[in-house]
Structures are given as structure tokens and as C-alpha cells.
Symmetry: D2
Subunit: 326 residues, 4 copies
């Protein structure tokens, strides 16, 4: 099932249901939904190895926050989203306040659709150096926080995991929060969905280049990942639209047996491969984003930084934190 690229556990469960035709519970996966101030929050818990294989995601928790848009929002919606993010981080993270938190902003700051991580890092309220050098000031802060935007392999020549591991070995954080841009299957997910997970992250996995994962196994410390889909790959997106269009033709009642027999002969994999072939060689590996991505990243990085900052400095008000990151 990995042929359709998505980094979202929620889309993986959707695809599993489409493929199996089952609409109810999935064995080994616990799903709960709630609505908080217009934000749809879905908690997906992958409980066992079997379920993990089924949806191609490690055992663990995946929380999705969905809004109509994360881009064109009012100040109230901005604050609501920050608070929902803080609240879900509190749910998924069991903080050890005695050790620093390392926020890692993955991605390439020079590519708008990949700049989410570095942009969040620039808005983090960083305090670790105050704890080390200015204890009188650090009293105001609940957490010792440091942050790093390690860059991408093509620019550094070094695997992201190597850089982060080198730094964690020296900083010895109690928690790594990794922020990255993700790939979704559906283009309408772009700039509308935030995923939090406690299973770590595989830099670049969503867009075709698997690098070594950032996770407890590799770093020796818990890794919570926060991501927002910013891209879809052309073949996945087209395939989905193709299916939806054929469904619409079927449902319109105009469909004869003929078309069904053709489509039914093709397995999902075959159809996906066919579309890939049609789009080759020119579209091939193309990864698409939306025209407004630059502006959206400014907004969304602010939401994520706001959520993470208020989570980490829990004794400060929203306004106090804004003063530091004005």
C-alpha cells in the first residue's frame, strides 16, 4: 500500500478502508474524534505490529488537527489553533522538565514548501543558554529549550540524522520535537492539517528520498514529530482524481457494464502504474504544491511556534510569549 505517498496516518487509514471496503473499526487501530472550536481533532493509535503493517506506520500515536484553512485565519482562530496544538502536545508528551528540549526544524529554508521546520525554529523561544549562563533570568521559564535547523542533505552533504545525533549527544535533551513539511495524498490537505506523532520522523520520506529516521532507536531520546502537508506528488494526486471522476460517472447512472468491466479488470496497483506511465517521462517524479505556499508557511509556522512555545513555557500567558517573538 506504500505506493501512494502520504505521511498522514489518517490518510493511510482512509486508504485501508477504500481498499478493503470495510467502513467500521480496524483491528489494532483505535480512532477517536472530537471537535474543538471548529478544529477537527482525530487521534489514531496504532496498537500492534499487524496494524502497523496494514497502514505502513510504526506503532504509536498520531493526532491530526484539521481546519478549513490554516492560511487565511483571524487572530481568534490563530489563538484557538495554538491552544488546540498545546493541548494535544500535552496529551501525547510526558515532559521531564529537568532536561532541555531540542526543537529540530527539518527541511530546506530556500524552498518555500520545505521551509516549515526552519521557519518554526526561528520563532522558538530559546532559553537553554539562559539556564546555563543567566540563572536569574531563566527562573521565568518553565523549560530549557534549544533549537536547530540542520539543513538538508543536498546542501550540507551530511545526513540530517547524523547532524541531529551529533548535537543530541552533546546537548543530551530529554525530548526532541521535530518539525517538518509533509506529503499528503490529497491536495486539499495542503495547509489545512497538522499531524503530531510520537513515533519519530523520517526526513524526506514523503517525497521519495528516505533518509535515516529521527526516532528513539537512532537518537536514544523520545522524538515527537509535528508536520503539515505542503506537497502532493503528481501521480498520487492524479490517481485520486481519476478514481473520484470514474466514481462520479458510475454514480451518474450513465455507466454501462462496459466501463465497469474494464476498470474492474485493473487492480489499484495496475491503474496507479498506468497513470504513472501516462505521466512519464515528463511529469514523473514531480512534486506539486499550491501557488500560495510562501504566505501559508509564514502563517502556519507561526501557529506551530505559538503552540509549541505555549506548551513548553506553560506558566506564561499567550501575550507574554508573543512579546518574546514579536
Amino acid at each position: 500500500m506504500t505506493y501512494k505517498r502520504t505521511d498522514l496516518a489518517l490518510e493511510e487509514t482512509e486508504m485501508h478502508r477504500e481498499n478493503t471496503g470495510e467502513q467500521g473499526d480496524i483491528d489494532g487501530i483505535k480512532i477517536s474524534e472530537k471537535n474543538d472550536n471548529g478544529i477537527k481533532i482525530t487521534r489514531v493509535e496504532v496498537l500492534d505490529e499487524n496494524a502497523s503493517k496494514m497502514i505502513s506506520k510504526p506503532i504509536g500515536n498520531y493526532i491530526t488537527l484539521e481546519a478549513d484553512t490554516l492560511d487565511y485565519i483571524s487572530k481568534d482562530e490563530y489563538e484557538s489553533m495554538c491552544k488546540a496544538l498545546k493541548s494535544e502536545l500535552s496529551y501525547i508528551i510526558d515532559m521531564d522538565l529537568s532536561k532541555p528540549v531540542l526543537v529540530v526544524g527539518l527541511g530546506n529554508r530556500n524552498i518555500s514548501a520545505d521551509a516549515l521546520g526552519p521557519k518554526v525554529v526561528e520563532q522558538m523561544l530559546v532559553t537553554r543558554h539562559l539556564f546555563e549562563h543567566m540563572p536569574q533570568i531563566s527562573d521565568s521559564f518553565a523549560s530549557s529549550v534549544c533549537a536547530l535547523a540542520p539543513g538538508v542533505l543536498g546542501i550540507t552533504g551530511i545526513e540530517t540524522m547524523e547532524i541531529v545525533k551529533g548535537v543530541t549527544e552533546r546537548v543530551k535533551p530529554g525530548l526532541v520535537i521535530a518539525v517538518d513539511a509533509l506529503a499528503a495524498r490529497k491536495i486539499q490537505r495542503i495547509n489545512t492539517t497538522i499531524q503530531i506523532s510520537d513515533t519519530g520522523i523520517n526526513p524526506g520520506s514523503g517525497v521519495g528520498n528516505n533518509r535515516k529516521a529521527l526516532c528513539r532507536d537512532t537518537l536514544g531520546v523520545d522524538v515527537v514529530a509535528i508536520g503539515v502537508p505542503t506537497v502532493v506528488d503528481a501521480v498520487t494526486m492524479t490517481n485520486d482524481t481519476f478514481d473520484m471522476t470514474l466514481d462520479a460517472i458510475k454514480n451518474s447512472g450513465e455507466c454501462t457494464q462496459g466501463i465497469l468491466s474494464v476498470i474492474d479488470k485493473l487492480s489499484d496497483e495496475e491503474k496507479y502504474a498506468l497513470i504513472g506511465q501516462v505521466l512519464m517521462p515528463t511529469v514523473g517524479d514531480m512534486v506539486l504544491t499550491v501557488k500560495e505556499i510562501d504566505m501559508a508557511m509564514n502563517k502556519i509556522s507561526k501557529i506551530i511556534a505559538g503552540g509549541v512555545n505555549t506548551f513548553l513555557q506553560r506558566e506564561m500567558t499567550f501575550d507574554q510569549i508573543e512579546s518574546f517573538t514579536l
Copy 2:
């Protein structure tokens, strides 16, 4: 035929042929092709009103330069493309050296896929102020050149045409060269094609918001437009892939009469509308670009500035011009 959004005359002629099934000459349209150092150059001349209506483009010349990529290029390819651009500009433009040339960079500099125009303006070799204030220096320059990036309606609150007209009335240029990002029908055109035309330009026309045109009628001076497709709209792109995929199914010989009868019942317009409906309401007006657009715009703006600068300062060598814009 205007339902499929494209700013390229070349794609309009392709669509005309697809729609009519005619593969030969089109009445009222003269097309010639040549290959220059790996660059495919197509000159499309729309000769009369009838042809103009057929392909939804004003009477005039449209030249397309196509390369495998304008993004990942060597220094030699960069220079070849600059020279081809200079050469086609010389073909289409009859320069009056006694008046200044105004280069207008359309688009929003804060949106990567729309920033081509402003980026070109920043690399122009601007000389008009030297002609006015420092005649001893201006002797080295063949043309008096000025440049303007007027911004976009959403940021200025003023129609681009109003700003440009206000400035042309004062500067009184002999020629306006307008540079803009375009919309294509096919995603593989993004960052591979340059279109030059002598019919002016309609800012934003390719992406759904028609503004008043920059052309001889509105500005009272010849307007040559240079554009590069940077976006496709989601519905147009999906529709094209859908067609190609169905063709592939047909050609595979697996196709029964049934499917053909269904597809044949749908006119092009109906199918396009159906896909639009399928993608609504979430994808709707989405305008897509490629993930690498930021880097590509840096490269391509350099090519266009290089081509225009060498065209305008025809007595200077390529290296001399590079010295000014290093």
C-alpha cells in the same frame, strides 16, 4: 475553448488540433519551428480575426523557446538560452533607440510562483538616469532603460495597468517590455518554456483574475511580453491526465465498446465540468506549482534578465553585462 486555462499560444494551437482532430496547417495561423543549440523555437503568427478567435489570442506574434529544463542548467546552456532570447527579441522588436525602454516586472514578489517579473527587474541594467544626469557615462550604453515592479492589486489596491499607465505618461518610453509568470495547461511546461509575444499582456489572466491589459491600446506604446509558465490550475491539469489515461486504456486494446460509448457521450466541456465538480468544493480554484519553484525562479529570472540586457545593450559583450549585474 477558453475553459482550459493557458497563457501559451502554442498550447492553444495544440488544443485546437485536439478538438478538431486536424493535424495540418490551421487557417490564419503561420507556424514555423527550428532548433537552436538544443532549444526548440516555435514562431506562431496569428494572422486574422478568425484565427484569433479560434485560439483565443490577439492577432500578432508568439514565440516559444523550449528546453528540457530552465532550472538545472550548465553555464553554457545558460548563455545559449540568453542568446536565443536576445535573437528572438531582435526578430520581434523594431527598436527606436531614441526613446527609453520601460521594463515592467508584473507579479507579487512574495509569492515564489509569481515573482518572476520583480526578480527580472532587479537584474536589469538600468541606465535611464545616467542618460539624464551623467551623459559622459551613458555613452557606453546603447539604450536608455528604466524598470518598474508595480506590485499586484491585492497589495497595492491599484490596478497594475493604472500604475504602468501613470508611469508611461511621464517617462514616455518607446517600448514596454512586460515580464510575467504564466499559467500553462500542462505541468511539464513549468520552468521549461519561455513565451515572447508582441500583443501585450493581461496581468493575472492565466490564473482567473482578468485585469486591464497592458498593450498598445491601453498604454499608447508597443508592449512586448515575456512570460514563463509557473503554474497550472488543478482542474485543467487533472483533465489532461484523465484524457491521456483513457487514451492509454483505449490503446492497450483492452477497451470494450462500453467505455467508449460512455466517454463518447461526454463532450469535452461536459467531461471538464465533471472533473471540476469532482474536485469541488475543496480543490476548486486551486492553482498548483512545483516544489522547486523558488530555486527555478532564481535561475530563470537570470536567463530572462541576461537575454533582455544583452538585447538592449547590444554593443556590450555578455561578460561586460555580467559585470554590472554580478
Copy 3:
């Protein structure tokens, strides 16, 4: 007295007092001071031609808002400064709500110390196009606002005044608000002072290149200028420090008659010229700014945009306006 470069009327009055030795009122100049939430507000009114010559400033009003810093501020200080700016704009401007306001952001966006104007323009709540095309929306806004960042002569080849005049002739605003970076005499003014005046502005005047002024005479409409000192020229700054140091030596009581007689022999102009000569040829025209200018411009442009937006849209709350410019 124009040899010491400053754009601030307040510094001109200070210099006049230093030069004349008079500490009381200046004939033809009305000065009043107040303190508003830690912000020192000085209103200087130049009443007649004689006073105008004395301090090298056109007849009119000059208001200075001074804080310890405009850079490292809390959210409360940010809002206080916005409100003070709004209040002083209300004092100096007699609004005609029936015509649009044109906000002009002068300066070069690629030079941090000169980017104040363009940065403010990007944060303006622009509404004129809504008034023209979407009257149902424009009802929420008190003023029709448009904005323009015309660029600088070296990049456009066109005098700023020409561009602005071309646009005002088409837009026919009732008021132009021009925002620009200024030159101060004292480096401690950088990023601490905002000047508002109703006498227009001379782009680049503070840094040695006089361009045609933006004012009622040239544009045919009232021009209110808002500026913040971001640079000092090296000679002016050094001269001032030299004076202060000599004063300190004198006041230390260590001074013999000898040194006084030498210094006294030199007129102010001679000493200034001497320092200029000492710094020549290498330092010469150098214009200095502070290392933190980039960050400071982000903050200060936000303050000015906040003040102007709340002034222009007087029926909206601060938070409503922030929603638009988040």
C-alpha cells in the same frame, strides 16, 4: 548649518541652540513636549520663513515620538506606540474620507537600512480595490487605502517623484502618506525615534542625494511623511563625538588655557571640515547603521503599519486590524 546631515527637525533645533548658545525659545518656532506612557512626544511647529531658514526645514509641523528603543519591545509597548502614532496622526491630519489615501513606501527593499518604507507598505490594510469592486465588503472599512513601493532611482532609473506623480494623477488621492528611512545626526537616534511631518519629504535627502520632493507643490495633494532614522553619516557622527569628548576633557578641569585657545580658533565649520578631511579619502561619504538593523526594521515597520492602519480604519479595533495583517 546644513553641513551636518539630519532629517530630524528636533535635531536641527538642538543644533541651532548649540550654535547660538541660546537655550530658551526660538523665534518663529513653537515647541511643546509631553510624555505618553513612556513615549516622549515633541511637537515642533515652524511658523515663518525666518525660522524655516534657521533650522533648514520648511514651514509646518514636525512631531517626534521617542522611546528608549523601538526594537526590543514588549507587546504592550508595541500597542502603546501604535496608539501614540495614531493619536499624533489624528492631530496633524485633517482627513477627507471621500477620497482614497495613498501610502508610499520609499526606499530600497534590498538594503535593510533603507527598507522601512517597502516593509510598511507590505503590512498596510489595502482597501481601495474593495471600494471599487466589492462595495458590500468595503462597508467595514472607514478609508479607501492604496499603497505603492516605487523603488529607488538606482534600480528603476526613474525619479521616485515621477512615479508617485504618475500614480497620483490616476488614483487622485486626498492624502499621501510617505514612509521613509531617515538620517540622524546622533547614532543613538537610530531605531528609537519616529518623526511625523506635514511638509512632505525629499527622498534620499538625508543621505546625500537630493531628489525631487514629494509635497503639495509637486503632487498637488497633502503629503504627510513618517520617518525613522536608520543611518548617520560617518563625518557627522564623529564630529559630534569629538565635541562631546572635548567637552568632557574641559569639564574634567584638567584643561589648560592652551587647548581652549586652539579649539576656540576653529569655527564649527572648520572643525567639521577638518574631521571630514581626516576621514577622507577612505571613509568619506560612508553612511553607517547599526548591526541589528535588519531585525529592528521588522519591528519598527510593524509599529508604523499598526499606527497608520488603526488611524485609517478608525472604526476597527486593534485586534481586528491585526487579523488582517497577521
Copy 4:
């Protein structure tokens, strides 16, 4: 003598001579000068501990390349400077081609005057990942190169040295090349001088905040530093101008005994302290740069990247390297 802030060994030797009044050789310091295509190259070798203390610089080599400007240069001058830099790097570095080279870009990319390092990193021809994953491609490259812009303490909360040490422990480079913006004593050094040294570098040392050094002692690998002065501190600059102005007064012959006796009573330290006091509290720690710093950093980072790239990939021509970094 460390009270006057400079990172340049050349300025330290100048100050030593001024302070001692000796104009000839300095014991324990070997100085040689040459002129290469208009570029003045000075090699300063600090030979023993005694000399090291005298000029406050570790034992080792310091090479200075000086041009009239590194900012407004022609393409020929750009290439000459790259070649001179390559040549001096070859002189100072004894390359072990079997291990990767790590280029570290120190500084804050969001502060123009501090962004030299990060800007150079972005223009490095990075090859280490090719050596690891694509040996067929890496054959074209003489050196395995990786690069890192670790950020600054205020943004990361982690000492630069800690990050670099963490990464070097994993990458195990044979050489670290560290690029940083420097502080000079004289403002005319800004954007005109490049210093290369083989003694490592102390991030931030020139501007008042001493961090742990990057050098063989801390990293266990040779560190070559490349720096360009981009700032001066206000007190140092003023003090120098004060001295020069007093000298000019003296030399003008107008000087009486009186002034000499006052000035002579003040030691250098006292005078420096006096000026610092005069400038306090407002100017205090102010660090100054020039207005054009943004543009200059673009040019100068290109020169340094060009010099380092041609040095590291010695089998490639200048044009081949430019193709990669176009």
C-alpha cells in the same frame, strides 16, 4: 591592548607599532607583502608566545587580502580575487584528500552584517553525499566536501562549538574551514579585506561575546578561518578618528603646548575610556556597519565561495564550478 576590538592580525601589528612608536620589524613576527593584480597580500606569521601576547593573537599564520573594494567589482576583478584566495589557501593548507572537508558558516543569517558564513555555505559545492552514495559521480570531484551553518547562540540556545564538535565527531573531517564576519578597528576595512588564518576562530569574539573557540584544541582537527570585517564598534571607531583629528591639528602647526600637555597626560587607555564614557550610556556597546552591507555580503560571499570551491575542486575550471553554483 585588547581594549580596541579587532579580529585582524594586521591591525594588531599596526596598533603595536603605534603604541611602541617602532616602525621596523617586530620580534617574533614575520611579515611579508606582495601585490597580485591590484590585490595587496600580507602574510603575518606569529612565531612565538611573546609575539603572540604582544598582538593578542595565537601563534600561526594570518594572511590578509586587501582590495579597494570587494563590493563594486567587475567580473575580472571577481575572478582575480577568487584566484588569489585559492592561491593563499593552497599556501596555508596542507590538504589530506582522503578525508572530507567541513565548511562551517558561522553567524546569524537574519542579520546582514553577520550573514557572511551562512551565505558562503549556501554557495558551496557540496559533494560528500555523492562520495557516499554515488561513487560514479564523485569521481569528477577532487574533494569530499560538506557544509554546515550552525546558527548563533541566541537563536539555537547551543554554543556554536558544541554543534560543530557534535558534527565533526560523526563526520570526522580532515579539515574544518570556518567562515565568519569579523570586527575591524577601522571602518574603511569593512568590505575591503579578507583574512585567512590557520589558528582557528572564536565565534563572536570581535563583537564582545567570547564563545568557545573552534580550533584544533577543541575540535581535534585543523581549522582554517576565513573572515571579512563587516562591523566596527562605535567606541573603537570614534577613538581612532579622535586620534587622527588631533594629529591633524598638531601637524597643522597651530597647536600650542597647552593641548599637547593635556593629551599627553592621558594614556591611550584613559583616552579610550574617556570616549567610551562620553558615548555611554546611549551609544555604549553599539556595533556599526555600513548602509550597503546587504549587497556587499552577496558579492563577498560569492567571492569566498568561489575561492574555496576552486581550491577544493582543484581539477575543475572556474566555469565548471560556476555551472554548479549558478
